[in-house]
Structure formats: structure tokens, C-alpha cells
Amino acid sequence: MADEPLTFEDAMARLERIVADLESGSFSLEESLKKFEEGIQLGTTCRAFLDRADVRVRAITAAQSADGPGVDADGE
């Protein structure tokens, strides 16, 4: 299970923020460049995330969910 610090939702939000920042025109060239590079990197990251091809399905049995949270089995 890949628990990256940045979720896909966060990455998309960050990319949108960067475009809004660049559009505001209120950053220096150097800052704009840094933001642009980060944006391109985020785009690449997001595409890679979307390339994951199959849904990971885990079955949580009633007994396990009744026993308590966090107890779950990897089902096929």
C-alpha cells in the first residue's frame, strides 16, 4: 500500500494552485520558474498515479469490522 505524503487530491489541488499563482503574475521570474517546474513535476506524478490499472479490492468481514477498526484482512 503506497501511502505517499502527497495524496492525488493534494497533488491536483497543488497543481491548480500553481497555475492560479502563475496567472496572478505576482511572482518573480525565478519564483515563477520554480512553480512551473513543480507544476510539471506534479502533472507527471498525477499521470503516474492514474496509470495504476486495477482497482485494489479488500473484503472486510462483518466480524472484523465488529471487532474494531483497523482490523482488516487482505482479501482476494
Partner: protein
Amino acid sequence: MSCAEERIFSVAEINSIVREMLEGEFPAVAIAGEVSNLRVPASGHVYFKLKDATAQIAAVCFRGDARRLDFDLEDGAQVIARGALTLYDAQGSYQLVARSIEPAGRGDLERALRMLLARLREEGLFDVARKRALPRYPARLAVVTSPTGAAIRDILSTIERRFPCVEVLVYGVQVQGDAAPSQIIAALDAISERGDVDVAILGRGGGSIEDLAAFNDEGVARAIHRCRVPVISAVGHEVDVTIADFVADVRAATPTMAAEIAVPARAEVLARIGTLERAAAARLEGRIETARRRVLALAKSYALGQVRGRLEHAMQRLDHASHRSARAIDGSVRDRRARVESLGGRLAGLNPRDVLRRGYAVCADASNGSTITRASDAVRAGAIHIIFHDGAAGARVEGPIIREPREQEGIQSGR
């Protein structure tokens, strides 16, 4: 009137008259009774008797209506049958043609449901203000439904098709029967406790009001209400609205639609990323253009010698900028890359040092450092600096104005 003129009916005539009386008098009746002698011949019509302790009536439910029954009709069932009375001429017996049949007690159930609905609404469980927004791009979904039903199949295949890059936790529960509410409540509470689920779908295929009892359960309604994860309800079909639908943050008409609401379409997300990347590249180009114009303006308004260091630094930054941006842009914005690179080329051509290297020089007024662009200004200044690519030399202007080129400069030099 006496009976002198006795009227003799044929059997068909009297049956026909009685039939018309029956049909005219009882076009719509509701009869409560117990089903017995149930027969379903190959025709698909359903024949049975409705009886109580002391009486019975023949009844038929024709195939088209029988298909719409939402529960299992069987001998011994207490039902309310609605339809018209008529007479079956061939037998001379009268019967109920039932257009609809429902289990007795459903009326009580509906009344109880309406009261619960009113109470929960009063309490604010359905308030629109407390409906939570769904995440746009969920990473982990939980589905509470029967592990073997059509609902889970529909949900998984829809997610597979639209947005396969998620994890789905399937909480298999009974969705009908006595154990259903407590299992659904336990699953919702477990999902809420985990803290790592982005959105939950609670659903099942459609069914009769009895089948949907768990989704009209007060405990289930409260579990949805206290669940910290946004819940999408997906119970059956458009007509089946349950209390769970009212409490849920979003109501989907079917499990398939719930999955479509829960996850975006991958193709649309890819298009969105492309749009954002192109917008970022376009903005950066604009930014480089602005910087280029500033450097140009700088070159015109100050003595080159005095600001050369700054200019060179600016040019370097621009070169660096176009290089970096060109490097950063990947294949998805290749068309942009070409434009940024040509922009970089144009910037390199603007580097004043390169111009000076080719044998040109710039004159500046020695007294204030301003760039001299006219011969008359040079004569007026007298003392000037001549700026070469590697440094400046002091000089005095001695000669008069030899020629003062104007707009025709290009043409003259072409001669």
C-alpha cells in the same frame, strides 16, 4: 305491475346483466383476506381465493399485473387486493380481477415510516446544511452492501471502468433480514473509526418496502448521520426512496450511479491535468516575455557600461529560465516546448555582449552615462564613452555631423 308478463332470460343474458351490475357497482374495491388455492398456470395469470373465517371470493391477477408484484404471493399470505369485481360468464361465478396486491400491514408500516421520517426531519438529520461535499479524487472507498449481490458487482465494474486507481474496502453485510440493521451500523461505525476512507457507499438493489426495512431503520439513519466519512446512499431504483437516502450526504438512484458519483472519469482527469500544464506553460512564457521586454527597456534607458553587469545577469537568468523550462516540459506539452525554446533563442540574440562582439559599439554621454543614439547628441556631449564588448574607452567628439540618417537608414545602407 303484475307478474302476468314473466320475463324469461337466457343464461347468457342474465350473466351479462349481473356482470354489468357488478362492474358498474364495484369498479374499484380493496379486499383484505388470506390467499388460498394459489395456482399459476402456464399462461402466467395468477388464480387464487381470498378467504377469511367464513367466506371466500375467487380472484385472478392477470400476467401483466402479476409481473409487477413486489413480494412472493403464497398460500396463507394476508394481503390486500385491489381491483374490480366482475362475473365469469362461463362459470356464472363472480370474481375479483386484482390489479395490485400488497401484503396486509404494509399500510401500518408506511404510517410508521412516515412518522419516523417526520421525527428525524424535525431533529435535523436531513438538513441540507450538514450534507458534506464529496472528495473530488478519492483514494479509498468503502462499500457497505451484500458481498454477493448485483450492487457490489455494478459498483466495482463502474469503478474499474472510470477510475481504477483507487482502493475499495468491501464491507459485506446482510442487506435484509433481522440482522441487517446491526451489521450495517457496525460497518458504518467501523468506517468512521478508521479515518482513512474518503467516501462510503451504502447500497443494495431495489426491493419491496419490506426488503428495504434495514434502510428505513432508525439506527441505520443515525449511523449514517454520525459517520465521519461522507456517505452516498444507493438503494435500488428511482422509486425506492428510503430514510437512508434522506440522511445520506448524496443520494444515488442506483449502485452504478453511486460509483459514478464517487469517482471521476480517468479520461476527464487526464484532460484536466493537460489543461493545467498548458496553462502553466503559457503563463511562464508570458512571464519570460515580460522579463525580456524589461531587459530591452533597460538596455535602451541606461548607459550600457554602467548596467552591463546587471544586464548580463538578467540575460543569464533568462537563458537559464528558458533552458530550465524547456527541460521541465515533458512530452505532454511538446508543442509548448518548441515555443519556449525559440523564445530562448530570441533571448540569446538579444544579449548585447554578442552584438558588441560582432564589431558594434555603443556611445554613452560621459557626463551622465545615458546612451547616445543620435549624432547631434554626440556632438553636443563632446566627451563620450565608447563601449566595446570587453570594456569602454573615453573619447572626444571632434568632427561635425557628417550625415544624419533618418527613417531611410535601411535603404541607404543597402546601397
